[in-house]
Symmetry: C2
Subunit: 479 residues, 2 copies
Amino acid sequence: MPNEKKKVSAITSMETDFARWYTDVCTKADLIDYSSVRGCMIIRPYGYAIWENMQHILDSKFKATGHENVYMPLFIPESLLQKEKDHVEGFAPEVAWVTHGGSELLPERLCVRPTSETLFCEHYANIIKSYRDLPKLYNQWCSVVRWEKTTRPFLRSREFLWQEGHTMHATAAEAIEETERMLNIYADFHENELAIPVVKGRKTDSDKFAGAEATYAIEAMMHDGKSLQAGTSHYFGDGFARAFDITYTDRENKLVHPFQTSWGVTTRMIGGVIMTHGDDNGLVLPPAIAPIQVVVIPVAQHKEGVLEAAKALADRLSAVCRVKLDDSDNSPGWKYAEYEMKGVPVRIELGPRDIEASQCVVATRHDGEKETVSLEGIEKTVTEKLEAVRAGLYAKALANREARTYRCRSIDEIIECRKEHGDGFIKLMWCGDPHCEEEIKEKTGVTSRCIPFEQEHFDDKCACCGRPAAEMVYFAVAY
Amino acid sequence: MPNEKKKVSAITSMETDFARWYTDVCTKADLIDYSSVRGCMIIRPYGYAIWENMQHILDSKFKATGHENVYMPLFIPESLLQKEKDHVEGFAPEVAWVTHGGSELLPERLCVRPTSETLFCEHYANIIKSYRDLPKLYNQWCSVVRWEKTTRPFLRSREFLWQEGHTMHATAAEAIEETERMLNIYADFHENELAIPVVKGRKTDSDKFAGAEATYAIEAMMHDGKSLQAGTSHYFGDGFARAFDITYTDRENKLVHPFQTSWGVTTRMIGGVIMTHGDDNGLVLPPAIAPIQVVVIPVAQHKEGVLEAAKALADRLSAVCRVKLDDSDNSPGWKYAEYEMKGVPVRIELGPRDIEASQCVVATRHDGEKETVSLEGIEKTVTEKLEAVRAGLYAKALANREARTYRCRSIDEIIECRKEHGDGFIKLMWCGDPHCEEEIKEKTGVTSRCIPFEQEHFDDKCACCGRPAAEMVYFAVAY
């Protein structure tokens, strides 16, 4: 079986080359493949199943908070993209332009949507007339295109899958509340389902979404100490509403502008899962999004009764988890390596002696532990194991983040800290001046990630200029 | 409430102008909106919820038959599209071309996928090596673009949503079996869930998919007697496999080509539902895909206990169906018209006297019937009603089709038939010569729809040329 052997061939170790380890995992765990379309990726069944699980959980949370799904066109006419000044400046340099339909030159160029604020605004101008029409809580699952120079699977590709929420509200307060609500949904999803601890905060002005008044984000620390912006939620005020002439008649019969938000997460989250939990044996998946939560592997499956018992066990477990029985003729050792590579959280081994003793061996992927347990009540045992995996993954990721978070009081301290510890989160006091932000970046290589909601006051002076500083900001090297 | 009044304003009647009735329903039932993107549509929440229900049912059927979802890039490089001769000839005239990324001219034009055979083939060439890798049963949910001149919501738009299955098999027989299996899944979905009777058959050579050896289709008769191609399933033989150099090592260790299929249904199905079941009061939805299956409308809701009782009733029903309580301050009459327009299958009215008598009024949308029933066992009553709605819709559609299906033996008979009866399905005996097919089209305006699997032999001679004819073919005016 030369074809199958290849699958479990060694991957580059994280220590040797983290970037190469990452792409090795992406391809060896069958998450993606490349094609002749440069900068775009093929998401293979195993990778797409992870995305479907993410979608399913998030979509339920969106619907439970009153959001409705819609579908807007893939294209945006150039004149429509130009309606909001900051927005077009931010996006025009990185859009793909359609110039011909068949052999005909189009009267106006169309860009492939990089994001859909402009389309939603045009539609909202049509359908919002009265305070009775508010709020409008729309969401869209789709793909978007941004013509990036340097690409990496899931993290930065010319096309990616995402959801984009776009909402309109009667008041600024309601819109701000929505912005925060959605950021919290993203944060809870990361912490509870993906087992990824996140820092919630506000972006500095230099890092805001093009056209937004305020951008909120969740930042997660990857295994290598770098930061991943894992989700964003934007408050627009009434800027787009003014640019697109969206008005409604309020309760006092006055014509006013509504207030707007947008928020999104992408297939980038899969990259976050890989880089937070993965190890030198491959992918490690949190149970909530694992396509296979438990794999049952028969040992000495040629012996009488083994396959039947393994099948019966898998059937029982299918009531409580996503379970797969692997009864292929590959060796148990090959199978162990294969499902380790694919990050299946729990593996169950069942051989003739186990069957006789009415027990099985339960191995957990994230810590390599093995335990012999009774088949009686196995459903409960497995359910508890899966929860323990989640908790274990979260604790490990949190410990990594805490071990690699530093406080620095000056540019020299940052340089020293980076020399000694490498990448990590650096907490700095900042005066609020964008020049200081820029200077820190230039001199140390770290960029501001966010001004965390959970503030900490460990100095009075800006780490850059020494002037009074009221805000603590996270800096890091970012993906 | 001037804004709300508009919603239930009259729509064009079917008799007056069927095409205008159709677009009226699309907009007045809040299914779609237009935008500045010509030829594309916005699918609004109510329309998109119908699509999500369709997706959910079909996706389960695909997965139950072993298919896996994947995601391929949105773009196809021009050179890749050109690899299969017939395919590029069929699609190149109607694709949208991307020429620039940001301000840079691309080294090669990319088209926005009109369908993804070429991308799947390139990927399959990478991942299929051995007979152990077969079959590959992949499916993709996405949007595709075809630069149509004349567009209509759902029926023909420049961008539409669909699923495209692409499978590879070791033998021709297996691939043909897959082609038929998927056509049957489409047919069953139409008949059972959408309550639309369909004719299953094979397309004539002139109407095959670009690059296919055989195209199978389901054809449905719309209320106006025209035909809608509602789903297609293609058998490719090994043509693409040869063009893309896809080979595998078989059990005898020989290098051979696999055999291929593709199959798809689109948002066009929503158009089919509208034109099959709709009436002059608006949309009529089959329960399986209705976003709201039952609407509960309190009567005299200001009276004590009415709203509470209506809420309790809706809560009970939520266990067996998708139910909505409308407790807004619009009048019951306004609400009746609104949910009729939106095609909600069952309406329940509950007023003070009903509550006293422990009963409610159940009205069914498709036949306008009203019945007073006991609140006791209302869950069962409603479940039965929904099934009766499905059966009633199907019977009505089938009766329409049967009443408008004709047998003709010559071109003169076709002309006569069309003069007397207008649009409908015309059964003809055909010799198999494409010239006859063309001549029939030119002289009578109907085109061949399919050679039905269920054949009927009512003459020995071709209706066009009089030569011996073995096959019966459906002709009609098609959407």
